[in-house]
Amino acid sequence: MFKKYRDIISGSILLLLASIIFIESFSIKKLDISSLSAQFVPQLASILLALIALFIIYGGFKQLKKLKSVSITEDDVSKKEGSKNIFGIATFALITLYVSLLDTLGFIIMTSIYLFFQFIILAEKEDRKLPIFAVVSVVVSVSIYYIFLLAFQLSLPAGILG
């Protein structure tokens, strides 16, 4: 399903991005001293991007027509892909949580939590050994924290432990 409309979707997203860049460019201040304002390149880039986007959308529609005439079924493929996508989405959700709580909870706690759940997401069912995951998560987080602190003079956020 998605594959079929991929180019039309990507072209539309690019077109949207181009319009945002173009509209926003008018809020950039202009100075009289510069012969070419700070708006020039953003506007040029957005126009270029819009043209390319239209071209991609056009190509997408042409492709769609062609596919209809040949009629290839790819439902099986997309179904399989769908179940795999969950891992990607779960990973992004976990990383978002990681970034938003890194400062508050500190590197050691947050990284341990992150690693533990990421191990679970990535491991196949038969490989999910939770006690080992927990130990590895904590050991790795603590080691990274102290290795960087002691050997590379980099102090990571200490958070509530600090």
């Binding site: 180019d7 070419l36 390149v41 270029l48 991007l49 390319i52 992004f92 960087f148 102090s155």
Partner: protein
């Protein structure tokens, strides 16, 4: 030149630096060998460790990672039939049939030795052309840099193998992301959306980590665990694994592949991932019986492995002399320079001559170490392939986060890798290539800065951009490249149409 080398070697002749290079080579080979991990990722992960080192030590480590990372892919390509990195795709073609016949040892020996020789060839080219090129580049002003940036940007078009439009779109996306922050020349804020952390724009490194490392991790999370089912071929090596006669039969192939590899490396935007395939095709096309390629002949391995390592020296030429990276790894290296407050370019050869020659020396040392370590450590590297991915990838992410955080000691940069990871992932899903983004991101600001700076000099007159001979030269090639790419693309789509038409009717 010779004095430079003496200077370079004396500055790295310490146990600490040798150990760093060794560490780099070993880790690089491991990253190269494990599918899904690459030389670029190895460099990213080790960057934070170089923050506290002096630049010479830091760059020595990175040289080791780079060389090991490009070479390591051959182990998997031959023993597992999966290229460890895109640089070793063509190594699979003849490497895996050889392994299947029980000649894995010979294939590995050939691959390792020619990786070494290809690297060596390109380093000699680098040593001889970089300093004179820097002498020329030192005279470059705003006009020339603008033209050079435009020329490099047009290379995006020609290198985006698949769709021209998508490659261009990715390039422009890169330019757009680089807009955030203060505009060049007049320092007016734009596209910061009121976020103060964005005032200085996005840092190159978090963008790179996000686009390449995070995207790769998530992609691997989604991919099948094909490594599990893969059978690792057994192997035996005596000596180098091949005879002197076999070695001598590859002379022409070696020179041709080295030239292709180095040349591709020098061109902005394309590196080992392209050169190994091109060299393989060139070797096949010029052979008397091309059919034997793919059945397990050493020629194929020689072409691929010579070319990918030869790209390393090539890619460093534009980076060191002009500050323009040749591929994704050199973009990371550019980031590493910036961390140390050094901007690569012609001035580097005057102000930091010791650093330049220490890099040259480190490359030579790393290349020799790669040869030795890969030979004697083969069995250990093969064992490393069995580390479960579900442990490896999350730990790599944690190290990426450390790297991003360590840049400015702020969580904002960790958030940046998340944002760009998501962007990279979405782009992959939408079929948009990632390398052009980096080129646009780096070259866009160079082009704009020098355009506006030049116009300020000339009071808004564009003619001087065309009358400077060097600038005119680059702009002309840029024009030629653009036109020929569009024509080639039109021809290809026409051919495809005809093929499809005949396929339907036939």
């Amino acid at each position: 030149m010779l004095s430079g080398f003496i200077l370079g070697f004396t500055s790295i002749l310490t146990i600490k630096i040798f150990l760093l290079i060794l560490l780099g080579v070993v880790v690089g080979i491991i990253f190269g060998a494990i599918p899904g991990l690459s030389a670029a990722m190895a460099v990213v992960l080790f960057l934070p460790m170089t923050f506290g080192m002096d630049p010479i030590a830091g760059m020595a480590l990175i040289c080791g990672l780079y060389i090991g990372g490009i070479s390591g892919g051959l182990i998997t390509a031959i023993l597992l039939k999966i290229p460890g990195t895109p640089s070793s795709i063509a190594t699979c073609f003849d490497g895996s049939p050889m392994a299947a016949r029980g000649e894995a040892g010979k294939a590995l020996g050939i691959g390792i030795v020619f990786s070494f020789l290809g690297g060596l060839f390109s380093f000699l080219v680098l040593f001889f052309i970089a300093p004179p090129l820097a002498d020329v580049a030192i005279q470059f002003g705003a006009f020339e840099y603008f033209a050079l940036a435009i020329f490099s940007l047009t290379m995006i078009a020609s290198m985006s193998g698949g769709s021209l439009a998508k490659g261009l779109a990715s390039g422009v996306i890169g330019i757009v992301f680089a807009l955030a922050g203060l505009a060049p020349v007049d320092a007016l804020p734009r596209y910061t959306f009121g976020i103060h952390a964005l005032d200085a724009g996005f840092d190159l490194l978090p963008v790179l980590i996000g686009l390449f490392a995070i995207t790769e991790i998530v992609k691997t999370a989604e991919a099948d665990a094909s490594m599990k089912k893969a059978v690792i071929q057994d192997f035996k090596i005596k000596g180098f694994g091949f005879s002197m006669k076999e070695f001598m039969s590859q002379k022409v192939n070696f020179v041709r592949s080295s030239l292709i590899g180095t040349g591709i490396g020098i061109l902005p935007g394309i590196g080992g991932g392209t050169s190994n395939l091109l060299a393989y095709m060139a070797a096949k096309d010029s052979d008397k019986n091309p059919e034997r390629f793919g059945t397990g002949v050493i020629d194929g391995i020689v072409a691929s492995e010579t070319a990918n390592n030869a790209s390393v020296g090539g890619a460093l030429v534009p980076l060191l002399t002009l500050g323009i990276p040749g591929d994704a790894v050199t973009a990371m290296v550019l980031g590493a320079f910036m961390v140390h407050g050094i901007s690569p370019g012609p001035l580097l050869f005057i102000n930091n001559k010791d650093l330049v020659y220490s890099i040259f020396a480190s490359l030579l040392v790393a290349n020799v170490m790669m040869l030795i370590v890969e030979f004697y450590g083969l069995r250990i590297f093969v064992k490393m392939l069995k580390i479960p991915k579900h442990y490896l990838l999350p730990i790599i992410f944690a190290l990426c986060a450390v790297g991003a955080y360590g840049l400015n000691n702020r969580v904002f940069d960790v958030a940046t890798i998340l944002i760009f990871g998501f962007i990279g992932y979405s782009m992959e899903k939408l079929g948009l290539p990632l390398t052009p983004v980096i080129l646009g991101f780096i070259l866009g600001p160079i082009a704009e800065l020098n355009l506006r700076r030049g116009l300020q000099h000339t009071n808004g007159d564009f003619i001087p951009f065309l009358t400077s001979p060097i600038a005119a030269f680059f702009l002309l090639i840029a024009l030629y490249v653009s036109i020929s790419t569009v024509r080639k693309n039109m021809k290809r789509s026409k051919e495809e149409k005809e093929r499809l038409a005949s396929a339907i009717s036939g």
